[in-house]
């Protein structure tokens, strides 16, 4: 997956870093508006969600030249780290130079030099250890001392960063490298490298000065017993001696005690110098080398274990697009004669005038106001048909009544779909009856609740259309909620008024 235009082969960790930086760019409103192409490509490449996020980010980031920015940033940070290490070397050298100074008698206090050279290092080591324990306990209550040089470095570099892409790359880099487990080991490695350089500088200058100048190492005490110093020196020598850097014997040590009347024996110079070098290596550089190696190892491991936090909104929002639950196949059996449909006109209906009315319910529940509906005077109840057999039976009865002057009222519910099956039922009703015929659509309120007002109106239009198509008179289609006693009463009152007004005329 190495891109031709990317500056170098991208490791999995760098890919994640790239995705992090890209997330920041997108969150600050950067990046292209249309990311569909990259997303489709990422879906096509497959893999788990993180892989897809990484592929998407890489494809998009490439066009924004983010990999180059990130690479440049890494180089800058590497340079800064090397500068810091070089400074460490110089500091070590200066420290060694100012420590190794003979007094007017040409004598040098060995322990004084040793403490001056290794003392700060030892304290710093202890501090690092304590802060490591703190960071392990999961708390970051006291900011670790590692953070101070890091933040200084971050501020220094930040001033050199400009442009949205660069800033996002920088913020991602610092955010990840500077915090958590990665930050702990990264900063530890930097710290140990710094101290290693300092100790290296010390060692170099010490060797140089020991080669070019003559020092007589002595030890002295006012209140401590001599025996203690001898023991201490022997203990101190144990470790360097294993490296072949310690050869002082008891007599030489004793003979090196500072005394006014005599200089230390000439053979002791080499022994003390060797011990000084040996101590610098054994107590200074070797632990630092070991810890540096350990920190780098842990850094490598935590880089390998680093995963994107996919629950962050910046990533999670991509999930529906990158991990689709389904893929459309498309129309497999097309509708050839797609009929154009249009909305019907709505008109208030009325019942046809007739002496007697036959009432037939189709696939409805008995209405709340009772069955047969009170509006049909002298009703012939044909019942409610909920299946074909019942309908056939009712239509049979209807045919038998054909010699009466009869009107037929078909009651349907708006909750039902006016489909072709229903159209056939209406057509059969129409065919079975020669007199006037009306359609009453009930349960409008319930339909409106179920479908919403717009869809309910559409359905009403559809019902009218199939009714007209099957031979109903548009004027004889009425919408009246038989579940609603109040509405029914109003309808009857209005009808009686009309009758009353027209009657005497």
């Amino acid at each position: 997956m190495a891109e031709v235009s990317s500056p170098r082969v991208i490791t999995p960790f760098q890919r994640r870093l790239l995705a992090e930086a890209w997330r920041r760019i997108e969150e600050t409103g950067g990046g292209p508006v249309d990311t569909t192409h990259a997303e489709l490509a990422a879906v096509a490449q497959g893999g788990d969600f993180e892989t897809r996020v990484l592929n998407r980010a890489q494809a998009l980031a490439l066009s924004a030249d983010l990999p180059r920015a990130l690479h440049g940033l890494q180089q800058a940070i590497r340079r800064a780290a090397w500068t810091l290490i070089a400074i460490g070397g110089v500091i070590g050298a200066v420290a060694a130079r100012s420590t190794l100074n003979a007094d007017h008698a040409g004598l040098v206090n060995f322990y004084w030099v040793l403490v001056a050279l290794l003392g700060v290092h030892s304290v710093a080591l202890l501090m690092w250890f304590v802060s490591l324990l703190f960071s392990f306990s999961g708390s970051n209550v006291p900011p670790t001392p590692l953070r101070a040089p890091f933040e200084a470095l971050a501020r220094m570099l930040a001033s050199a960063v400009s442009g949205n892409v660069q800033r996002s790359a920088y913020s991602a880099w610092m955010g990840i490298i500077g915090s958590g487990v990665l930050g702990r080991w990264g900063l530890s490695a930097l710290l140990h490298a710094f101290w290693l350089a300092a100790l290296g500088g010390m060692l170099a200058v010490t060797l140089l000065m020991l080669s070019a100048r003559q020092f007589d190492f002595v030890w002295e005490t006012t209140i401590l017993p001599d025996e203690g110093f001898i023991k201490l020196t022997e203990r101190l020598q144990d470790l360097p001696a294993r490296l072949g850097l310690g050869s002082l014997d008891r007599e030489t040590i004793l003979a090196s005690r500072r005394a006014a009347e005599r200089a230390p024996p000439p053979g002791a110079r080499r022994g003390w110098s060797t011990l000084l070098i040996g101590s610098l290596i054994a107590y200074g550089m070797l632990p630092r080398i070991a810890l540096l190696a350990f920190s780098l190892l842990m850094l490598g491991r935590s880089r390998g274990r680093y995963r994107l936090d996919l629950e962050l909104p910046g990533y999670a929002r991509l999930r529906p697009r990158l991990m689709p639950a389904s893929r459309r196949i498309g129309v497999v059996d097309a509708d050839i004669g797609a009929a154009a449909r249009r909305d019907g006109e709505l008109r208030a209906g009325r019942l046809p005038a007739a002496r007697e009315t036959a009432v037939l319910g189709i696939e409805i529940d008995p209405p709340g106001t009772g069955w047969p509906p009170a509006l049909a005077i002298g009703a012939q109840d044909l019942g409610i048909a909920v299946e074909r057999a019942a309908l056939d039976c009712a239509l049979q009865r209807l045919r038998a009544l054909q010699d009466h002057p009869l009107s037929l009222l078909v009651v349907c519910s708006l909750t039902a779909s006016p489909d072709r099956g229903m159209a056939r039922v209406l057509r059969d009703c129409r065919a079975a009856h020669h007199g006037p015929i009306a359609l009453l659509l009930t349960q409008r309120a319930r339909t409106a609740v179920r479908l919403g007002e717009t869809a309910c109106r559409e359905r009403e239009g559809d019902w009218r259309r199939i009714a007209i198509a099957t031979g109903f008179d548009a004027a004889h289609i009425l919408v009246l909620d038989l579940d609603d006693a109040e509405e029914l009463r109003e309808f009857l009152l209005a009808r009686d008024d009309r009758h009353g007004a027209g009657g005497p005329a």
Binding site: A158, G178, R319, G330, V332, G337, D419, G421, R450, G452
Partner: protein, 461 residues
């Protein structure tokens, strides 16, 4: 299409029972097909495929509604001498009627014969009618495993138990309730389990599907909670330093802060909509009084607080002086702690540096202006309410959904805010609402975010 291991399911049923809705919900594809309350909206067979293990393995076919099953059944009856049910269906498909009036029914039956299992969708609000029996008889001729799926079971008019009884009497016992409007992942699982029970050879495939869906559902819940946690941390940490008593400065800073938090909340709503693959102009938003991606009721209006059962006695942006005071005390604490624990000079220095500056500012009369605690509670409550609605809502619901808008209560009533949120209040550098320095500690913020996320998850269904 999928080779040897695929599974094909046909969604069949009467018109307007929600076949396309069921498909939309199963596929999480809000734009699949066309839905309306009118009959015959779907007039063709449209297919989609469920992804299992990153591959399209389960094909779903959305068929037109069976509208005239009575005629169809009568016609199939005429082919009685042609052989078994499948032969009779084949004879019908070859007939002229299959290209004429019963063209849609023919489409359905063609698809039925090409499928491994049938999902028969029923509108549970309707009574069981003759046409349902006719439809089931026609489908029975195809001799495919058939699972009745009761839709709209969440409706008050649902006749679920009556339907179950009726279906049992004609030998259909593996009935699944699946409300496409009020979505419940357990229903989806039961649906797939029912298919699993009927199609033993596809057991593993369906098991994988069930597990992936479950994992995706959990990921969705977790991500939603993290999205809100992100908002809360941003809002909690946002602070503006102003001179105490300078009314003009205070009010302009307060306006600034309120506007940032409002914008941030809008962003959160957008993120949640995107996460759930809903469009922000969606019905959910409308029902919850979200307009143009923004809650209609202003975050800082006292009425909003009252709605969530919080007292609206004080201003929305406040607590500044108190906050700074607590900071100084907290600073003293960690100072002492650091000292006693023998922590480092660096640690001591930055603590002194940080809190010392705060103390100095305090003495100079500066205060930090912040969003108050009740506003954070309202933010949490509103977004949790939105998530709740999004989690429960199927991808299909076209009709209106009753959401318990007024039942909402602010989370953590009578208790302190979660520790992670209280900590965020002391970390302005965690907030993205104010300019952040380089190397803002991501891991620390992320730790707080995930702690808060867990607290929010407890508030979700």
């Amino acid at each position: 299409m999928n080779g040897e291991t695929g599974l094909r399911m046909a969604i069949v049923g009467h018109t307007n029972t929600g076949k396309t809705s069921l498909l939309r919900t199963l596929t999480r594809d809000v734009a699949f097909g066309e839905i309306s309350a009118r009959p015959g909206t779907t007039r063709h067979v449209e297919a989609t495929s469920l992804m299992v293990g990153g591959r399209a393995r389960v094909d779903l076919y959305d068929t037109p509604g069976l509208e005239d099953s009575t005629t169809l059944l009568a016609l199939l009856g005429e082919y009685r001498e042609r052989g078994d049910g499948i032969d009779r269906i084949r004879s019908f498909l070859d007939s002229a009627a299959a290209r004429g009036e019963l063209e849609q029914e023919a489409k359905v039956l063609r698809q039925v014969l090409g499928s491994d299992v049938l999902l028969y969708v029923i509108d549970a609000r309707e009574p069981m009618l003759g046409r349902h029996r006719d439809e089931l008889m026609v489908l029975g001729l195809a001799a495919r495993p058939l699972i009745p799926v009761l839709n709209f079971t969440g409706s008050a008019e649902s006749r679920e138990s009556a339907w179950r009884e009726h279906l049992a009497r004609i030998g259909l016992h593996a009935v699944v309730a699946f409300d496409t409007v009020l979505f419940d992942p357990a229903d989806e699982r039961r649906l797939y389990e029912a298919v699993q029970a009927m199609l033993a050879p596809q057991y593993d495939l369906l098991q994988q599907l069930i597990e992936e869906r479950e994992a995706a559902w959990q990921a969705l819940r977790r991500s939603a909670a993290a999205t809100v946690a992100d908002l809360l941390i941003d809002a909690a940490g946002a602070a503006r330093r102003v001179r105490e008593g300078n009314a003009a400065e205070m009010s302009s800073a307060s306006t600034w802060l309120q506007e940032r938090v409002r914008e941030r909340e809008e962003r959160c709503i957008r993120q949640l909509m995107e996460l759930f693959a809903f469009r922000s102009e969606d019905v959910v938003a409308e029902r919850l009084a979200i307009e143009h991606g923004r809650w209609q009721m202003d975050l800082f209006a006292p009425e909003t607080l009252r709605r969530f059962g919080l007292s609206a006695g004080t201003g929305a942006v406040k607590g500044a002086a108190v906050g700074a005071g607590i900071d100084v005390i907290a600073g003293g604490l960690s100072l002492g702690m650091a000292a006693t624990l023998g922590a480092t000079i660096g640690a001591l220095w930055s603590t002194v540096d940080r809190f010392g500056r705060k103390l100095l500012d305090r003495l100079r009369g500066y205060v930090d202006l912040r969003v108050d605690e009740n506003t954070l509670r309202v933010l949490a409550a509103r977004e949790l309410q939105l998530i709740d609605a999004l989690l429960r809502r199927g991808h299909a619901s076209l009709s209106q959904v009753e959401l318990k808008g007024d039942a909402a209560r602010a989370p953590w009533p009578g208790a302190d805010l979660p520790a992670a949120l209280r900590r965020a209040r002391h970390h302005p550098e965690w907030s993205t609402l104010i300019a952040r320095g380089p190397g803002a500690p991501e891991a620390e913020r992320a730790a707080a975010l995930h702690a808060l996320q867990e607290k929010l998850l407890q508030q979700l269904p």
